[in-house]
Amino acid sequence: MSVALRVIPCLDVHDGRVVKGVNFQNLRDAGDPVELAASYSAAGADELCFLDISASSEGRATTRDMVQRCAETVFIPLTVGGGVRAVEDVDSLLRCGADKAGINTGALARPGVIDEIAARFGNQVLVLSLDARREPGMPSGFGVTTHGGRKSAGRDAVEWAREAVDRGVGEVLLNSMDADGTTDGFDLEMLRAVRKVVDVPLIASGGAGTAQHFVEAADAGADAVLAASVFHYRTLTVAQVKEALRAGGHTVREGVVA
């Protein structure tokens, strides 16, 4: 037997509320975050990811309060990303009940922060959130982006993944900005390129539209598959995704005790 492939619904959070929107525009309230988290957990989600898109420190504080309420009722791993720049940011997320912290812009600005966080809390606590897209001129053909894919960070995405793992991230969340929002499937080419250089768990994100897309990502080497809109808009349930993965020969977590 082996570790089950994880299915992870992702929730965008703004000032403590779950929101839906396209490219962070026209945000709509999508319901009570704690209720949503509990319903995903009951539906068989293996983990939950919160992406905090609050702009202000008050908004982030409200989000931490929300994560705390979530951790009181939902007993599966919680990853929270957004605004992590220092050891203290991770400390405050862990204290409110997060199990892992996602880091993106903060690590690009100062890569050494990865070493500092890993030394304090261990590698397993830190997820590199990597937004990448095709960028001619980069050695691997993929470049790192910031600001929701709008700006180039001027770094090779595969090389950055390798450096971040060497420095101490315990997991890589690879979000393809080319595939994101298309519902045409995960970016398998990008996934394979990053898989080649990292041995830590790799989470595929961006582009999911059908249950079969999740199977393709698993076939390409993902240890976990993450999606937002297909779950929020009820295009797919977690159970349907798991059924497809199982049919595709992948191990998933099934039995839930009464």
Binding site: M1, S2, V3, A4, R6, S41, D46, Q68, A71, E72, T73, F75, I76, P77, L94, R95, C96, G97, D99, R120, F121, G122, N123, Q124, V125, G170, E171, D199, V200, P201, D223, A224, R253, G255, V256, V257, A258
Partner: protein, 204 residues
Amino acid sequence: MNGPRRVGLLDYGSGNLHSAAQALRAAGAAVVVTSEHDVLLRQDALVVPGVGAFAACITGLEAVGGRELVADWVSSGRPLLGICVGHQVFFERGTEHGVDTAGLGLYPGTVEQLPVRRLPHMGWNTVEVPPDSRLFDGLAGERFYFVHSYAALAAPPDALATTARHEDQEFVAALERDNVASTQFHPEKSGAAGARLLRNWLAS
């Protein structure tokens, strides 16, 4: 017993306190989180959590007199549960990057890095449970949430050992011996299966 089981959760600066406390409360316990020995010693049961490095956890434990507390607790005969690095520090030694750290020595043996290619071992894995386990009563075939790179590869001969496997390497996933129990995985993050395990432990 009258009322809920009173559980002390040892606070020595290690992570997952909030999650462990909430999961224990959801399992029906009255939980107090503190490092005060006199408060902890009045509880019915004790939990030692732990996240991060073995050596850092031992340093944190020593700073709150954890060695003495755990030793006293074990001889009191009341239930003790170690979780993740809290389980690891119950062993004699931990080895990280070639540096040996003395553990609490409740179990013989050493905690070391898993000799596998892919680390950390992260996610929901199955476990091999011995027939007499009370901790895993009703939990055959369930998966539990693991996140670690270090583990004990050999179980103490006098303990009831539940094992798990990552790649080709078998390691200790949980131990039960007299009033001491411990899990390498996180029951507080293992959904309904973890909740059942905590209830089993509270009933011990």
